[in-house]
């Protein structure tokens, strides 16, 4: 057999990464935005090169841990890091809040998963982030800005002390509207009030991207429905593997059933059955409660003041 093109004769071996000072999945930076919200920068140069706005990772913090899907909040191709913003709401995220310190390593981080967000040619867009959703909407807003669009940011928080990344958004948004539930910062109201305000001031908005709790995404999609503005949402159903294998993350989109992990996570917000999603998110409520209570109890046991008492 004669092989016409000996392609391996070239020196193309680039798979061996340059010797790195860091271990795989090492946490290189951490910042706490509030008593429950924290940011981790995880070392993964290969993933930092591949990541695109809208994608997510599956993280395992230790060998007997859960596989937790987390949206990529940012990536730095030069530093070789993936940024995750996490809210301590259950056992795993509370535990990670304690254990994930700079210099520690995650048991595993796989990704980037999901289909990257599609940047249409829209010239004026609203990027809406609610609560923790503020983080994952950031790379999308930046990508829109880089594509030359006029970007209006609408960020919603419960109160002023939970606000984070305002500076990052100011740097890339042409306009930024902050909304707080209690009025302690920006406008007093929900993100839907911010969306309405932006729509009143701009009649030529072509697309809205909304990321946050399902109730907030549902309200955002409803706010733009009448005007017929395309509204993309990023769904966060319960997942195990993230590779299209378990079907736990299935969502109803229009007449079809989609798997958020491989068919999404971005979907047309006007087509998504949010009520179905919200019910499905409650599937493990009881197990989550048991695990969280057990974790909280074990933390109390380990407090030195009590252990010695």
């Amino acid at each position: 057999m004669i092989l016409s093109l000996p392609f391996w004769s070239k020196e193309t071996d680039m798979s061996t990464p340059a010797a790195s000072a860091y271990q795989p999945f090492e946490i290189l930076a951490r910042e706490d935005y509030s008593p429950v919200t924290y940011m981790l920068e995880v070392h993964h140069p290969q993933m930092a090169r591949a990541a695109q706005p809208g994608q997510f990772v599956i993280v395992m913090s230790h060998a007997t841990g859960e596989r937790v899907p987390l949206t990529i909040a940012d990536f730095d191709r030069e530093k070789g890091t993936i940024t995750l913003v996490i809210q301590a709401v259950g056992k795993t995220t509370m535990e990670m809040q304690q254990t994930c310190q700079v210099g520690t390593v995650l048991h595993g981080m796989a990704g980037p998963m999901g289909i990257p967000s599609h940047l249409s040619g829209a010239k004026k867009v609203i990027c809406v982030g609610g609560g923790l959703g503020v983080a994952p909407v950031y790379p999308q807003a930046r990508a829109w800005k880089e594509s030359g669009a006029y970007v209006i940011g609408v960020l919603g928080f419960r109160s002023n002390d939970l606000v984070f990344w305002e500076d990052k958004f100011r740097a890339i948004c042409d306009e930024l509207i902050i909304c707080t539930d209690d009025g302690s910062a920006g406008i007093h109201g929900f993100v839907t009030d911010g969306i309405k305000q932006a729509m009143e001031q701009h009649s030529d908005i072509k697309e809205v991207v909304a990321i946050g709790p399902p109730v907030m995404m549902k309200a955002s999609a409803n706010a733009t429905r009448a005007a017929g503005i395309k509204t993309m949402v990023s769904l966060n159903p319960i997942m195990v593997d993230g590779t299209g294998m378990c079907g736990g993350c299935r969502v109803k989109v229009g007449e079809t059933v989609k798997f958020a992990c491989v068919d999404g996570p971005d979907f047309d917000g006007h087509q998504v059955d949010f009520d179905d999603l919200i019910i499905r998110l409650k599937r493990y409520k009881e197990e989550e409660r048991v695990a969280t209570e057990r974790w909280t109890a074990s933390c109390r046991m380990n407090e030195p003041s009590l252990a010695t008492a």
């Binding site: 020196e11 680039m14 994608q55 007997t64 378990c246 079907g247 493990y284 695990a291």
Partner: protein, 502 residues
């Protein structure tokens, strides 16, 4: 052999194998089938007729020289038997447990024409387990194969399931530098996440993976090929000379009936992954939860369905029922699995088809509504087509419905590469299992659709042969020479060095 054996002279009864008591084992995850002892294996070996034209070899997807290894058992030369099996089959401990032997080697066994066929699978497992216990590894002398620029051939394997493992082993034995990429945090693919411990203990999977590592195969977990880097990039940028894709058909099918999305309806893949890979049965000592249904209904009757049924029983469900639209005769599961499930107290509703899952008013499952079926004329698969009997609807109260009705191609490779796919999303290959991209091969479920472990392994080996031809590595194929290791004639040391002249 002193005297020629005939069907009349051999032991008439197949040597039984010890099994755990059904009513004890259906509360634990210990392996059901205890395997043959030495004496049992020898006794069963005496049932082989050593036919001049052994049909069993042809019946085996990887053509194990079955009579020869059985003969070695009779001679108590177990290491010799191991060498013969591993000449063509990398994972005897796995295949002895999970192959559907009744449709393969044992299905065509000559003894089976008159008596119960020789228990080939059980003897294979006996040898495989003995090898693990004694740490036998056949490590051939491997001279690194060199590409034109003097470095080893680099082979990338996508997916660490049975087809990937088989391909990796063959390429490592051919002197290549092999890396297996796995998207999960642990290697093994369906052997790890799918098949439960009571049928295939994780320790067996670990042992078989360890053997691959001994051959020099590297495993990289947490790597989602396609998204972290593409197949094209593996060839064009990452320096792989050839790539094998064995990503399987893991995308579960839902029934598409009302109530599909209710809480409590899940795929067998989800149930099994939570239980096996994530060890959710130990919740809350591990973090992954698994909702325990009291009354579980599993739809489907393949091997995955049997696993889901038996796992549910072991997790503590009070009743576990199987709903299948055809009759027991058509059910695709291994006969032994159905038998074991029946012993363990699983109910079977044959000729019943689900038509609706009924809500409890709060978004969870309350019952499943089915309709009785009868068998009509044969369909394309040759099986008689089930037809609903009007007015025969009935309900089963349940709080958990598991779908085990088949899977589709995993879409990730298709989404991220230009590989040619067929209409159903499976990868198209030529007869050597090469895809539309030069140097990229594919095999197993991602090419054929859902099949068996041994068929996937056969495909992995076939792809390895194609890969060797593509790279210009001489492939000696499995030799039937005594003392040959892994199909390689031990006397031939330059087997990897004969390359095409460029």
């Amino acid at each position: 052999m002193a005297k020629k054996r005939t069907v009349r002279t051999i032991h008439q009864e197949r040597t039984p194998v010890r099994e755990l008591d059904p009513l004890i084992r259906n509360r634990n995850f210990e392996e059901v089938n205890c395997g043959y002892t030495e004496l049992e294996a020898i006794r069963e070996s005496e049932r082989c007729l050593f036919c001049p034209d052994p049909k069993c070899i042809a019946g085996c997807p990887v053509s194990i020289n079955i009579p020869d290894f059985i003969q070695k058992i009779g001679e108590k030369d177990y290491r010799g038997a191991y060498n013969i099996i591993t000449a063509t089959n990398l994972l005897p401990a796995v295949c002895g447990r999970v192959c559907p032997q009744e449709n393969q080697c044992e299905g065509v066994c000559t003894v089976g024409e008159n008596l119960v066929p020789v228990a080939i699978g059980r003897m294979e497992r006996f040898i495989g387990d003995l090898a693990i216990t004694n740490g036998w590894v056949n490590k051939p002398y491997i001279q690194p194969t060199k590409s034109a620029n003097g470095s080893s051939f680099k082979i990338g394997i996508v997916g660490s399931g049975p087809s990937g493992m088989a391909c990796a082993a063959d390429m490592a034995k051919a002197g290549c530098d092999v890396t297996v990429f796995e998207a999960f945090h642990e290697a093994g693919g369906v052997l790890r996440y799918g098949i439960p411990d009571f049928r295939l203990p994780n320790t067996v999977v670990d042992a078989e993976i360890e053997k691959l590592k001994e051959l020099g195969v590297k495993f990289e977990c947490n790597v989602l090929v396609g998204r972290l880097f593409t197949i094209e990039a593996m060839i064009e940028e990452l320096g792989f000379h050839a790539v094998f894709i064995g990503t399987g058909a893991g995308y579960p099918t839902m029934l598409g009936i009302p109530g599909d999305s209710l809480n409590g309806v899940l795929s067998a893949n989800e149930l099994l992954t939570r239980c096996n890979l994530m060890r959710a049965r130990d919740f809350p000592n591990v973090d992954t939860p698994l909702p325990l249904g009291k009354h579980v209904v599993v739809v489907g009757a393949g091997n995955t369905a049997m696993d889901a049924l038996r796992v549910s029983k072991r997790l503590g469900a009070e009743t576990v029922a199987c709903v299948y639209r055809r009759s027991k005769a058509e059910c695709p599961a291994r006969a032994e699995e159905v038998h074991h499930a029946e012993q363990e107290g699983i109910e079977f509703h044959w000729l019943s088809n689900p038509i609706e899952i009924i809500d409890d008013g709060e978004g969870s499952v309350h019952a499943i509504r089915c309709i009785r079926m009868e068998l009509g004329a044969p369909d394309d698969s040759g099986r008689r087509r089930p037809v609903p009997i009007p007015g025969s609807e009935f309900e089963i109260e349940t709080d958990e419905v598991v779908y085990a009705i088949g899977t589709n191609a995993n879409p990730i490779i298709g989404q991220t590469s230009k590989l040619k796919l067929n209409k159903r999303g499976y990868i198209e290959t030529d007869k050597n299992l090469m895809t539309s991209l030069a140097g990229v091969f594919a095999g197993g479920d991602i090419v054929t659709g859902a099949a068996t472990v041994i068929e996937a392994m056969g495909a992995g080996r076939k792809a390895a042969r194609g890969m060797k031809a593509y790279l210009g590595i001489r492939d000696v194929g499995p030799l039937r020479v005594d003392g040959s290791l892994f199909g390689i004639d031990a006397r031939e040391h330059n087997f990897t060095r004969v390359r095409a002249m460029v």
